[in-house]
Amino acid sequence: MPDKNAPAPNLILGEADGGRLADNIMHFGRVLRRAGLPVGPGKILDAINAVTTVGVTSREDFYWALHAVFVNRRDQREVFDQAFHVFWRNPNLLEKMLSVLLPSFKGDEVTQQESTLSRRVAEAMAQEQSKEGEGSESAEQEEELELDATLTFSGREVLNNKDFEKMTTQELAEARDSIKRLLLPLGKVKTRRFERHSTGPKLDMHATMRASVRRGGDMILMRRKRPRQIPPPLVILCDISGSMDRYARMLLHFMHALTNDRDRVHTFLFGTRLTNITRYLRYKDPDDAIDRVTEAVEDWSGGTRIGQTLHDFNKNWSRRVLGQGAVVLLITDGLDRDGAAGLSDEMARLHRSCRRLIWLNPLLRYDQYSPKSLGARAMMRHVDEFRPIHNLESLSQLADALKHDHGMSRQDMARWKEMAA
């Protein structure tokens, strides 16, 4: 490529570095791809071109040249920045590059030294490194998903409510897949708006008239329309109290994917108080979004006051977010610190103001679970559906079930209600 572009005065890529810079850029691109950025071969070629054009005299120019190529959305900047500083970490980069020109990163070092490093970047580095050094076994093992009953995602990391940012790309991909399948089945509702349709129930006079004029008015060809269908608004109320702690990370990713997949999703977290996190979840990058959520929420893993928080929701939010036939996903284990004070009334009101109220309870993973706690009994009377949500598997089960029968069978629901009675 130096023959095509006029080579920068200070650098002729093929000569100056024995061809290793191009290799390194390629490796860097692969690291970014593993970290979730959309980097294809074309981008890597662009990046090499860009670096050739700008030259590598200054680290800053080098940074921004790569930035200009690899980053095309605001929320990718953080990942790029981290990856850049770790990958090209040697401050004497240029001298090194011009002399020895070895890849100047070490995956293991990285994970140990940069404790604040986003897990996605670290993982991407480690993988890239291990591919190079043929010693891929250990890395592969570490990366494997363990979906046991307690939902500790990774064997080496104890799930901690403060560590939401450390979800791996593999987990993300899995979660996104499950969630995508979950989205379809929440049936659509008719709107009062119309779209053209060849056999729709209503006559579209405007289109009919235009069509007949186009033919000179000799024939009047009927054009029809039908009501347009859209998914109803979705409101998620998620419990983040102590007893829900170990599901919190996955649930946040679940809610993040839902929020970004469709319009009209509102998300609230509750423990001892209610927090609307919809706006934070709009950040496209999940790590970024969840960072902001952790900052905004003050009552992580405390007690639960379901009655009080539902009261707040009903009073301040229900009229604003439950319009137009919303479906509510209530995610909680039903363990209430307040002894279910006022819970039944608030649940009744919530049930009356939405189209469908679905209770997702992680405790359902136990076969012997029965809704006997005060909170669970108060809530059970007012829900349309009762489903497990404790791992990615249960998410896809939920999706399948919803897709096929559009809701729970009456017998199942009646059985639960009987147990709670």
Partner: protein, 306 residues
């Protein structure tokens, strides 16, 4: 109706509103004055029954302008908000064209889609120049529509023009005065709010509410008015699902005079609570002992004040 000039200052605006029997505070007058003098829509948000729609009505009366009201609802579309073609007449026109074989076909389209067959709806009417000065366009309860209609409004609100594919762009010579109200059953997009001056219409304080009652229900005695206002203010401090608005206060005052009451007593309050509170839970909570307790408090406070 003669057209009055727009108010020239915040004080003027305040006078104009009070002239129309609307008791406003200075913050609202300021927002309204800005919107009138800078030709930007005024976006009024607040609970139901605090007098948002009333502002547009008073403006229309005081300024002597046409009031064009667009009540929003879900699925409101261009054909009911802006324009529609008169299809029946168009059909007849086509039949006539057929009967007269000598008419060239090319002229048919321009003929059919001419202003003769256009049915104008509020927004188009508001952009029209009738020689009576700019109209007042009230877009009521915008939160009831859906996002597509909001998006459509963006063009109308920033450029005061609409495009009719068959006719071209209609642009207002003088922009209409636009008042938008919302009950906040849904958040309105920031892009709409950005084009407007925003004002949150709150419940009035006791003094202002008494003033409003004096204007809107003058037949109610001084003593009863004070009791009514004090009682309603007490209710607003309580944790109710829906607090009573000003409209409810006025309704209650009318109801009480209709029933020939000169003062509040527990029985009367219980019987007429339905005019104030519109949710069964709230009524059940206040009715009976709670109402008597509030009434006791109100009476002792009023006696203490005198």
């Amino acid at each position: 109706m003669s057209i009055s000039a727009l108010p020239a200052s915040v004080d003027d605006t305040l006078d104009m509103l009070s002239g129309g029997q609307y008791v406003a505070d200075r913050s609202l007058s300021t927002a309204l004055y800005l919107s009138l003098s800078l030709n930007r829509p005024l976006f009024l948000e607040g609970e139901a029954g605090v007098g948002k729609t009333e502002i547009a009505k008073v403006l229309s009366k005081q300024l002597g302008r046409r009031l064009l009201r667009l009540q929003c609802y879900e699925g409101l579309d261009v054909s009911s908000a802006v324009y529609e073609w008169n299809y029946a007449r168009q059909m007849v026109e086509i039949r006539l064209a057929e009967a007269q074989h000598d008419r060239p076909r090319e002229s048919l389209e321009s003929n059919l889609f001419s202003e003769r067959f256009l049915v104008k709806r509020p927004i188009l009417q508001a952009l029209e120049d009738t020689g009576e000065g700019p109209a007042i366009l009230l877009i009521d309860e915008l939160d009831r529509t859906d996002e597509p209609f909001e998006a459509f409004l963006l063009e109308v609100l920033s450029d005061f023009q609409v495009t009719i594919p068959e006719l071209g762009t209609v642009r207002a010579k003088e922009p209409p005065i636009v008042i938008i109200t919302s009950n906040r059953t849904r958040e309105i997009h920031d892009a709409i709010k950005r084009r407007c001056f925003y004002y949150w219409v709150d419940y009035p304080d006791a003094e202002r509410e008494l003033e409003i009652l004096g204007v809107k229900a003058p037949q109610v005695g001084e003593n009863l008015s004070r009791q009514i206002v004090a009682f309603v203010q007490k209710l607003r401090n309580m944790d109710l699902f829906k607090q009573p608005g000003v409209a409810e206060t006025i309704d209650w005052a009318h109801a009480l005079t209709q029933l020939n009451h000169l003062a509040l007593d527990p029985q009367t309050v219980n019987d007429t609570l339905g005019t104030l509170l519109k949710y069964q839970d709230d009524i059940a909570r206040i009715q009976g002992s709670e109402a008597s307790r509030l009434l006791e408090e109100v009476k002792s406070e009023l006696n203490g004040a005198n």
